[in-house]
């Protein structure tokens, strides 16, 4: 870490952190009482309505990546970078019809892994699980890191301590409440995030001189407002496809599709996308003002919180702190719950102990939540890179799952070989692009190679998949 001048005192930081921690853990325990069975713990009783469904999808998608990575995109890649980030909302829009289809063809499903196993067989399932667990883990690590970076930059709390507290709080309340607690806290967190973003937005609009920002950008950072900046042009579709791949394959979104009442999923995901769309643009814009405001940035992923906190003073810093803590918590809890479901259902219950009782499965699920927390904590301890480099490393793998998922849900001729080869070739070529061209190309190339592979295999395929095979499960 390179010394960065903080805005709040450490004491204030610890007090806010303690209050928020007590509130989330208390709510987790309260909502956890509703989870009587394993299905209640994992899927909130499959009875989530429109308001909670929309709030949980939106809050989960507003992560540290929206509030910290969108400004990083703007600072690194300029105007196009900011717009590129907002294209991740297409992941939610396109998943809306998929959520409806998933609920119809798999009324008793638990995880995205269930779908791949039943639709494509064991080989594709193992590759998919490897990709999905790896992605879930990079997301979790990027958010644990974001928590540590945030607390350090705003309140001077040592990175390791701040990161440990955030992970610990999320593990504890997810452990007690399962998906009930995750969705309940997501609702409150989404309200806090939206109110906070509006306050910060008005504060910034009031205090920033747009002419000065433009003048500073055109003299000191001209490429940020250049419509033909090559890396940012490349990033547009890369981020769009990364976002689509993230939502399509991740059990975070599938578990919500299974948890929502029939007929709710499509509306909830569309509404969540609409609410989410302006957030990265607002968060990204403030990063462009850092030069005009003479704010030194020692790590690009901290630019958003730094500018907002500097502009709005102590009160603003506290709002930024609360908003960011909420956005981090709402995503970490979802990831812990969804990844633990994936491991419990797809590895423990399907491979290790198929005859395990409901109680045993729930106990195992809790152990996996703790294990994931500890593992993420150990990886987060040494700060291994910026948020973008950590998260986008999973980009090619994530991009390569788009076509196996989309065609698997709608094409009877989508074949197992096509899905397997699509994921393998897409990931391999995409990773090559990550190292040869840059992180802002890897998802796009991974998705493209996977698409071609899936289409080629489907054209030659003689399969005629029977959808009832999914329903029976």
């Amino acid at each position: 870490m390179y010394h960065q001048s903080e805005i709040l005192s450490q004491q204030t930081g610890w007090i806010i952190l303690a209050i928020l921690s007590v509130v989330w853990i208390g709510l987790g325990i309260y909502w956890g009482k509703k989870a009587k069975s394993n299905e209640g713990f994992m899927l909130a009783g499959r009875n989530v309505g429109l308001a909670l469904g929309t709030a949980t999808a939106m809050a989960t998608w507003i992560t540290s990546n929206t509030t910290m990575l969108a400004p990083q995109f703007a600072l690194q890649l300029g105007i196009w970078g900011m717009i590129a980030y907002s294209t991740a909302s297409f992941g939610l829009f396109l998943f809306a019809p998929l959520a409806k289809r998933i609920r119809e063809i798999m009324p008793n499903g638990y995880t995205s892994g269930d779908f791949i196993r039943l639709r494509y067989g064991k080989t594709s399932w193992i590759i998919f699980l490897a990709i999905s667990i790896f992605y879930g883990f990079t997301w979790l690590v990027s958010m644990g890191m974001a928590g540590g970076i945030l607390l350090n930059a705003i309140a001077g709390i040592p990175y390791q301590l701040g990161m440990t507290v955030i992970l610990l709080v999320c593990v504890v309340y997810t452990l007690f409440g399962g998906l009930f607690a995750v969705i309940g806290t997501d609702f409150i967190q989404s309200v806090i995030i939206l109110i906070g973003v509006v306050i910060i937005g008005f504060g910034v609009l009031d205090k920033v001189d747009f002419d000065l920002v433009y003048e500073n950008l055109s003299t000191d950072r001209p490429m940020l407002i250049n419509a033909l900046m090559p890396a940012s042009i490349m990033a547009i579709f890369n981020n769009l496809l990364f976002g689509i791949g993230e939502v399509f394959h991740s059990n975070v979104w599938w578990s919500r599709a299974f948890a929502m009442r029939k007929g709710i999923g499509k509306k909830a995901y569309n509404l969540a996308g609409l609410f989410w769309l302006p957030v990265p643009i607002a968060a990204g814009f403030i990063a462009l003002a850092c030069g005009a405001l003479n704010i030194n940035v020692t790590s690009p992923d901290m630019v958003g919180p730094l500018v907002a906190a500097n502009l709005l003073g102590k009160a603003g810093s506290i709002i930024v702190f609360i908003v960011l803590f909420s956005s981090l918590a709402s995503s970490i809890d979802s990831l812990l719950a969804a990844t633990s479901d994936l491991i419990t259902e797809d590895i423990y219950k399907k491979i290790i102990r198929p005859t395990a009782s409901d109680e045993k499965v729930r106990k195992m699920s809790a152990r996996i939540v703790i294990g994931l927390g500890i593992f993420a904590w150990a990886i987060c301890m040494p700060r291994i890179g910026t948020l973008a480099t950590v998260l986008f490393f999973a980009g090619p793998m994530v991009g390569s799952t788009i076509w196996p998922i989309a065609t698997g849900l709608f094409w009877k001729k989508a074949s197992s070989k096509g899905a397997t080869m699509g994921m393998v070739l897409g990931s391999a070529v995409g990773l090559l692009a990550y190292f040869q061209l840059g992180w802002y190309t890897a998802s796009l190339i991974g998705a493209g190679v996977s698409m071609l592979t899936v289409i080629l295999f489907s054209l030659q395929s003689k399969e005629n998949f029977e959808w009832n095979l999914l329903k029976d499960n």
């Binding site: 690194q76 950072r221 890369n238 840059g438």
Partner: protein, 152 residues
């Protein structure tokens, strides 16, 4: 015998002097190679202050110039931080140096760091944009057509 003692004393004195100079060295230097390249126009400049830890009272000055001799330069940061993220640079050669200001307002400068900016070609960028558009539209088509088919 006497000469051996003298030699030993001299060696000890040289060793102690060397340790003292290095223990309190305030040499400023950039972290990493002094010649860097980027295809994105952004770079994180990091520096360190000799063997001593930096303190809140340190005043570092970071300068950017288009020539190695810094005949025309501008200060892009002044303060106690040990890094600065620069971005939005067009193609070209950029030179950076960082200095530490002492109480007498004198500045000790680091060796300059040379940053070469050469953006990706626009041709590759547009090829990727076209590829991205095709993949995106094809994905939308699969979903829309599939949805229409199964919702009739």
């Amino acid at each position: 015998m006497k000469q051996t003692v003298k030699i030993r004393t001299s060696l000890l004195a040289i060793f102690l002097l060397y340790c003292t100079i290095h223990a309190f060295s305030e040499d400023i230097s950039f972290v990493g190679d002094l010649k860097q390249e980027t295809m994105t126009g952004y770079y994180l400049l990091k520096w360190q202050k000799g063997n001593q830890p930096a303190s809140e009272s340190d005043l570092f000055v970071l300068q950017q110039s288009n020539d190695r001799s810094f005949t025309q330069s501008k200060n892009i940061y002044e303060g106690p931080d040990l890094a600065s993220f620069i971005s939005g640079l067009p193609n070209g050669e950029y030179y950076y140096r960082v200095g530490l200001e002492n109480k007498a307002k004198d500045i000790t400068w680091s060796k300059p760091l040379q940053l070469s900016v050469q953006h990706h070609s626009l041709q590759i960028s547009f090829i990727l944009v076209i590829a991205g558009t095709i993949i995106f539209l094809a994905t939308v088509a699969v979903i829309v057509i599939g949805n229409l088919k199964y919702n009739r």
